[in-house]
Symmetry: C2
DNA sequence: GTCTATAGCTAGATAGAC
DNA sequence: GTCTATCTAGCTATAGAC
């Protein structure tokens, strides 16, 4: 076989960048091809199911990333809980480019994306919530408090990303991440 | 002239429903025509600038709605501040169908919508913020506290809408609106 | 595995009858 | 003011050469 022109890692990065910036309907296969350096027909070779399969693959990649860089850290027992939180929040900052990038889960959470990818989106949010719920428990909060705080984290992250984008000002996002760190201090 | 088949109010309602559900790229002129009961060519008669002008008109309508039902109430001096807050939050619940509807400002806050409508989106958010900032001042909080609380309101609303949609569970939104009421209690 | 070329379709937008 | 009919461009997807 011919060698792959771009490896899976590069491919996913390019596809995700376009999808989270433009959404499902706004991202054309030409956009996706251009961002990855492949031609349309080559994308169909890698993803025979077309755009739908591309998004499914990217969402699997996102879920894996969350498991590795969010919930995986928070569910581990390395170091102190506060250190796990700091590490996780730094990964969140990197994921969203300090508040400048749109969340791909958000970009797909509309009436065109949800019927196609709702289950995958829900799973990613669920895994994220489970990580932060465990953090609350590790810090001595009870179950219902911990679950509530985990929801609050997601709400702050998603809400501040929208506000930062709309106002063209990264401080809401950055402030919100600081606030999250405070929430978990007794 | 011929009579209008649908009045401006109905027209805006139909257009907004499609746009916030599907976003700018996802909403086709056929979708918009079907939702309003007009044909494509008739939409072009009302909005010669096409889809872009349609969205601009809808965003003007949204801004007016926010001025009337959010900031207008919070900037008034009718009744007690807490009553103004309750009334405003009920309007917010109605706007988003208790958490089931997507925010059109959010739906347009991506790399296809922002270059076209960024200024209008920012203005709507700004007006919303000014209303809640005044509420904080009326309740005795200082300026920087009031501004921070106003941002927190928008973050909670936008973030909980996303979480509610993604998890198919309206409680995050409803809980967040209750939380907002608590924030403003001394 | 990647590419060029193209099929088939739907998009946004326009012309012109009524 | 609304409609049917139509244009062109761009879309998703496929065929087949290398």
């Amino acid at each position: 076989m011919r060698p792959q022109k771009v490896d899976d890692q590069q491919l996913m990065a390019g596809l995700m960048a376009v999808l989270r910036a433009k959404g499902y309907d706004g991202a054309s296969l030409n956009d996706l091809a251009e961002a990855t350096g492949l031609k349309k027909a080559s994308l169909y070779h890698r993803f025979p199911g077309g755009k739908k399969e591309i998004v499914e693959a990217v969402l699997n990649y996102v879920l894996d990333w969350i498991k590795q860089n969010i919930s995986g850290i928070l569910l581990s027992t390395d170091g102190k809980p506060q250190e796990r939180l700091s590490k996780t929040l730094n990964n969140v900052r990197a994921l969203y480019n300090d508040g400048d990038s749109i969340c791909i889960l958000r970009a797909l959470t509309n009436d065109t994306g949800l019927p196609l990818f709702g289950l995958q989106i829900e799973e990613s949010f669920q895994v994220w919530l489970e990580g932060f719920t465990q953090l609350g428990l590790d810090l001595g909060f009870n179950k219902s408090q911990s679950e509530r705080m985990a929801r609050e984290v997601l709400i702050k992250v998603q809400g501040s990303l929208i506000l930062s984008k709309a106002m063209d000002d990264l401080t809401p996002f950055q402030q919100s991440l600081s606030d999250i760190e405070q929430i978990y201090k007794h």
